[in-house]
Symmetry: C2
Subunit: 393 residues, 2 copies
Amino acid sequence: MTLNYPNFSFDITHKDKSGARVGVLKTPHGEIQTPNYIFCGTKAAIKALSPAQMIEAQTDIILANTYHLMLQPGADLIEKAGGLHKFMNWNGPMLTDSGGFQVFSLGEGTMANEIKGKNQGKHDNKSLISMNEEGCVFRSYVDGHKIKLTPESSMEIQRKLGADLLMQFDECTPYHVDKDYTARSMEMSMRWGDRCLAEFERHDNGAQGLYGIIQGGVHSDLRKISAEYTKDRDFFGTALGGCLGGSEEEMETVVAASLPHAHPDRPVHFLGIGQMKDVFKFVRLGVDTFDCVIPTRLARHGTALMKGQPGETINLKNAKYRDDHTPLDEENRVSASTEYSKAYIHHLFKAGEILGMQLLAQHNVATINRLMREVRDAIQAGTLDSLEKEWLS
Amino acid sequence: MTLNYPNFSFDITHKDKSGARVGVLKTPHGEIQTPNYIFCGTKAAIKALSPAQMIEAQTDIILANTYHLMLQPGADLIEKAGGLHKFMNWNGPMLTDSGGFQVFSLGEGTMANEIKGKNQGKHDNKSLISMNEEGCVFRSYVDGHKIKLTPESSMEIQRKLGADLLMQFDECTPYHVDKDYTARSMEMSMRWGDRCLAEFERHDNGAQGLYGIIQGGVHSDLRKISAEYTKDRDFFGTALGGCLGGSEEEMETVVAASLPHAHPDRPVHFLGIGQMKDVFKFVRLGVDTFDCVIPTRLARHGTALMKGQPGETINLKNAKYRDDHTPLDEENRVSASTEYSKAYIHHLFKAGEILGMQLLAQHNVATINRLMREVRDAIQAGTLDSLEKEWLS
């Protein structure tokens, strides 16, 4: 079996001393420079932003979540619409995940607690009915009906959704399980990876590229095995998944134990991770793309991502912005940042106006895109350390 | 005392047999063709749309509500920001109302019940504490503190807000009061009008134009007196206000009893009225501008204004649109209408995505602007009757 992804490519054009790399990832819907950020359009929509507003914020690539879309409106409907790109009017590169993460860990919830080890038990998603070698059965949060998800059906659904970059189906191992559980889970994810590859190849028409996912929890020896597994298979890209530990240091150790054993020429995606400090830390370990819901989620709570601010953000709901008539951020090349004052955005949140979320969402997306542009430039110029100081001050 | 509004003008360029007229209304922030529609940006924001999205929907003019803005964020803050235009980043013509309507009738509520006579009592706004010749005292819905609003303070606040077109302070007479009450109320509104003119003139620097408001409830003889009052004073424009009756026929009678006695060369604004059928009916009676919250309010409930649909609308939440992959409205020159399918918008509302409201709001605004363009063309071509049949089918 050989998959060669003729319509895809990844070229690393520059590498700095730290291991950070600049590249070009080509897909049938256009190419992106890396490192880059993949914004979450969970239910086939970026929260509070139209595709035109995303483009004005210099966005290159977005993702949608298989789990949410298989439940509503369903993969068949999106296929009938001509695929996700047409359905949601996004013509650039797009990624979908496998659906597994939400099934196993969080139902409709967030990714952050799980991958950062903040959940206390095993799978705590009450909608999960059963899981075994075949796959898993869970209950829809939309209408309560039972749904089976397997490596094969995840591939089928992702094929119907029609994104450019797909993820293999895997079990997202929780934190508070022992090493034996983690090892057995990782081995099953590897067998599921092979089934995904087989199913993917059966229908491959060159339109999509499949990522394998490195599992293994916080155990370096398991991470190495899993990384080597992905390297030895015909995946187009490599993703970092599963539990990464309970501290920043542990997360760094896990990534450092994984990527040296992954395929050196393939694009590396870090699933669900994307604070500014993460970007600086993990590009140095070889990560090429990030995704996280925070840019749009923070916006809905009145928080703006800002260069050089403690904690990476300011909260526009704070009373000190009531009378601050300076632009939100003059250095950000997007109307939401330059044409509206902090006082106006403060007012919009006080008045309960949706426009406040829209403006901050566009500002946050533009800020992250600016960060990624500056990171790419700094890697090429050898100035990543000083750029990090400017951003994280 | 003479006010001559050197930076404003209104030229009627065409009149058809019915009395419908086409004109050009010039303000310091640009000119608009009439008949036209003034979209409600109540709290200094169009609900779910940015100024750029309003312009993409071919919007010429918007309004903001004095009542809401005097409570939050306050007129002084907006003055410090450089006025409403700068504060909210809208550079075109803008109107503010006097604040009186909400104080007298509805607190934070809607205009429609009051002007259409659907409220059962006198002023039913529990926040109104007192009203007399001087003005009125009410309680802020934002923080409960007592606020006095008078003709003079309404002018002062509207001057600070800095819109192009202002409204005199008046009492919005309820429906279920007797003729004596209505007459006394109207006479007080006329005295308030004189106080508004005097206060306006004291600070006039040519930047704003003041409208007088025709009151008189459903009584034709009172409407005539009130209309003649506005004609005899140095107002720039004339507005139709107060209770218009409990039926469409009564509303038509009231307007027909008012406008023949108003100044024939001044722009006529109809406060709070703006269904499609109203536009066709009242342009024939000489109305030049309309305003109503329905384009954006309907959008938030999943309803799209459509040409040639029974009831003027379709509801995208209806299950029949689940699988309808045709564009929302191919004839509407705006991305929200042409680039998204009914199935996608149906999905967005099912999924609770804010983007659904944004797209429908932009579609509805663009639909109304298209209606107004076609109405202007039809008046000039003498084809208003056939256009009405196309739209209201």
